[in-house]
């Protein structure tokens, strides 16, 4: 342990960039990024489930607005959405005096709103696709048992749809992690913001960005690991026998 400590001090003393101070910046950035991404995914998934069910509805006044929503949010860059939410709201006269300003004054919540709306749109489409692909036989069997539509949705369609959506959703999580890098343009000190800071302060683009790239890689690997485990468990019945 002492050896490790000495090794670490020596490692830090050899360079001017990665001091305790800048590492602290990176650490705070990591915390902010993880918070932001985790929260937006969590809220996003809760929004996406009812939206995905509604997206497949036969009633046009439910189906089309949801379609329009997913179309708009999947059809425009996240950066533009973030700018609109962060700088756009300011142009509503007098918003500073309303209760909304508590939310919009910080940079964090506008970013969270933009990210949530974005990921909810993608997740809605992923779930919708999975629901649509439910095997005909399963639905017929459920109907033969006399299940009502809500019950059938809850017991038969959604559980199997979630399982089928899992690999695609895992991708969406990783995409969202990477997309969160745009948060730094609205003054949020996320991982990329910290890297920008170190870059600007020491004029050292390589060290600053390679270090942050490594952190993103580690995060991505952990996400992949979790989803690999989940898939192994939940999709066990789809694997070929005897492997």
């Amino acid at each position: 342990m002492e050896q490790l400590n000495g090794w670490f001090t020596e490692l830090l003393s050899g360079n001017a960039i990665f001091t305790a101070n800048t590492l602290n910046f990176y650490w705070n950035g990591l915390v902010t990024t993880v918070q932001l991404v985790f929260l937006c995914l969590l809220i996003g998934i809760f929004l996406a489930v009812p939206l995905a069910i509604g997206r497949g509805s036969k009633r046009p006044w439910i189906k089309w607005p949801i379609y329009a929503y997913t179309y708009v949010f999947r059809g425009t860059p996240l950066l533009i959405q973030l700018y609109l939410v962060y700088y756009g709201v300011v142009f509503f006269d007098g918003i500073q005096d309303t209760i909304f300003w508590v939310v919009f004054k910080q940079a964090f919540y506008p970013a969270l709103i933009a990210f949530t709306l974005n990921t909810a749109a993608y997740t809605t489409e992923i779930f919708h696709g999975a629901i649509k692909n439910t095997a005909k036989g399963e639905i017929e069997a459920a109907r033969a048992y006399g299940m009502s539509k809500p019950l059938m949705m809850r017991r038969i369609i959604l559980p199997s749809a979630f399982r089928r959506a899992l690999p695609a959703y895992g991708n969406e999580v990783i995409f969202m992690l990477h997309a969160s890098a745009v948060a730094s343009v609205v003054t949020i000190m996320d991982l990329t913001g910290a890297a920008y800071y170190v870059y600007a302060r020491f004029y050292a683009p390589f060290q600053a960005f390679i270090f942050v790239a490594l952190i993103y890689l580690c995060l991505t690997f952990s996400i992949m690991f979790v989803f690999r485990k989940l898939e192994k468990r939940l999709l066990a019945h789809l694997r070929p026998r005897g492997v």
């Binding site: 700088y87 300011v90 500073q96 300003w101 004054k105 940079a107 343009v185 003054t187 000190m189 913001g193 920008y196 800071y197 870059y199 600007a200 302060r201």
Partner: protein, 256 residues
Amino acid sequence: MKKLLTSSLLGAALIAGVAQAQDTEHLRFGVDVPYEPMEYRTPDGDLTGFDIDLGNALCDQINAECEWVVQAWDGIIPGLLARKYDAIMSSMTINDERRQTVLFSDPYIKPPSAFFIPADSSIDTVYPESLRGKTIGVQRGTLQDNYVTDMYGDDAKISRYTTADDLVLDMDAGRVDIAFLDFPVGKSTLLDSKDGSYKTVGGMISEPEKYFGEGFGIAFRPRDKDLAERFDKALATLKENGTYDEIYDKYFKTQQ
């Protein structure tokens, strides 16, 4: 005898001629416009600005007649070396890289930075205690960023923007309590264009050198050491007799 007379007359004329030439020495300054308020054109097209006024005052001081030559920035040092003009006075920051090709006078100004606040803000000093809990806006990676990070990082929240425009937008929106900017930038984007809704607080800040650099200098050809020394002396005189302050106030004083 006649020959001697002629040659002595000739010699006298020559000396007189040289003496006369020294009386009305003619100097040319290279300058790149516009860079408000350091050098720019009035609506009539005349050159004006801090550099122009100070340069003319310096020329008066050393009994020279000055002419300004407008030259684009990327060719401004080659132009000096090619003798298109004798000195550069165009907001040129003194640094070691340029020192290898040109000779600098003493710094005549450090570009000041200043804190800007909304006119109705309650902030009246810029001590770290009085900015505790406030949001300070800066442009990311600028010397202003480094300065506030070190001086106020523990007390205030620092918001770093990619461009000054984004910062101004958020200042208008009320997300930023106080901005720390290059004074000329803040003057044109906040003081002049939003007349009356912003003001400065805490005066001009251009120290310490660690953050704000060595300042702007007049650049000469390396062999013109005498000329550079005369300008240094003239600058010292102008600073003593108050002319310098007069010119400074004309361009950098704001109504508090």
